[in-house]
């Protein structure tokens, strides 16, 4: 079992050069000549799809701060690696992959409010202050015009304090807490037509 360096040298003569993998053709040449810039670093971020109420687990691949791919999380108990067409297209929301395979900002992504005036044929860009003020004013006007304090129920007048002229649609892109607050807000205004895009 025990073999000293001396006995080994005696045994082998120790004249030959070191044999490497390159000697049998496995020479890793590709990597040694490859431009280091050709390496693409990517990180995987497990998250939850926000398109609907199922809440599928997705893994987003992020390269240099850009989501370049989204796939189902195989370790997620709900979807076990699968993903619908909407979920799979997550990575195309803010960036799209151009013909040469490079991610470029999605030209169709809305970054500013667009407003189409009544009777107008097209949209015009508006700033957020104008947009939020206008929405608030119109909600108030509509509510004031259509507010119902009482209603006839079974031949009797009962207090209802509501408006049927407005409906509210919650968004799956909001958190539970945000949607809870929206719900409280619209209920306070008397809105009774409340729904959510993720209702299945």
């Amino acid at each position: 079992m025990q073999l000293t360096r001396r006995s080994f040298l005696k045994l082998t003569g120790a004249t030959a050069a070191t044999a490497t993998l390159a000697g049998v053709g496995l020479n890793k040449a590709y990597a040694s000549t490859a431009d280091p810039l050709r390496i693409k670093y990517t990180q995987e971020f497990p998250t939850t799809c926000t398109f609907c109420g199922v809440g599928c687990g997705i893994i987003c691949n992020v390269r240099e701060g850009i989501v370049v791919n989204a796939e189902g999380d195989p370790g997620h108990p709900i979807n076990e690696g699968t993903l619908c067409s909407k979920g799979s297209s997550h990575f195309n929301l803010s960036y799209i992959i151009e013909e040469k395979g490079k991610p470029v900002p999605n030209p169709k992504r809305l970054t500013k409010p667009l407003y189409r005036a009544p009777g107008a044929s097209g949209y015009e860009e508006k700033d957020w202050d104008w947009t939020l003020d206008t929405i608030a004013q119109r909600i108030k006007d509509t509510r004031d015009r259509n507010y119902q304090e009482t209603a006839d129920v079974g031949g009797q007048r009962v207090t209802v304090n509501r408006t049927e002229a407005i409906s509210w649609l919650g968004s799956a892109f909001c958190s539970n807490e945000e949607n809870y607050l929206f719900h409280k807000m619209v209920r306070a205004m008397g809105v009774i037509n409340v729904d959510h895009c993720a209702r299945l």
């Binding site: 073999l3 082998t12 000697g23 040694s32 280091p36 990180q43």
Partner: protein, 303 residues
Amino acid sequence: MSELWLSGYDQEIERCTKIYESFKEGAGFVRAVFDSINVYFEKDSEHAPPFQDNNLSPDVAADMMRKDTSLFLRPLIDRKLFCALFKLVCSTIIKTNPALKQTISNTLKLADNYFSENKEKVTLEEIDELKKIILKEKTMSDDLATLVFSLVQTSIYRRQLKMLPGLLRTDLYEGGDCPVCGKKPHYGLLHPDNGAKHMECWLCGTRWVHPRVKCPYCSNEKREELGFFTVEGNDTCRVNYCQVCCCYYKVYDARTFHVDGDLVLPVHNLASLDYDLLAGKEGFLPGSGLKWVNDEELSNRQD
């Protein structure tokens, strides 16, 4: 032959020559060495019979798996079998490159004289010691010694630890080390069906599912500290890394190519050794401890 540990490797070599640009030159050697090992086992199927641990009950094994503890089965290796396979791999190296005859012969002499004749079984640690001596005497470089030793050891262990009925509960196991023998993995695959990450033990060939975003070596799950890199133009081989333990392992995305049968990952590993070099140049260490890259190759590291 279903008994052979590498059935289907021929197709895998074909596939790998198409996927990995650098593999064309070495494919002939890999085929020759796998052929020789398989022919050896075909001649005598009594070699390396399946290992049985009578002290390990399925309940105890399941409990260990639940706690992410490896069964740590490391049966002793038949000395004659080890020496025969070692000689076989070395002779294939000489056939591939006769210029290495002198060097490899020296290594063979050393291996012949390393184990005492009256010892029937040897441990993995004793084999590692032989490897260290060979490396110290510089008859073989790190990468070649890793190839020869891992091939011989895995040929034996894949047969010995094959089929552990009732004991292997990979459905309960989420650990990073091999659930059977406890070795740290060097590669894995993303399953073509659902993209799940399956690690494969380089020693006994056991496969188990491991969370996609988790380091198998230090169990780090912080997604900001984990990631992978690929080489432009080839998305099949990913080098996953962890910035905490600075280790890497390779993952083959089986979704990127058509697979008829089971994948022979040892072939992919040998076909993608350039990724080990890249990982080394990027400053990462092999978490498995297998040195597929020589220190001299890393001398121009970019860090």
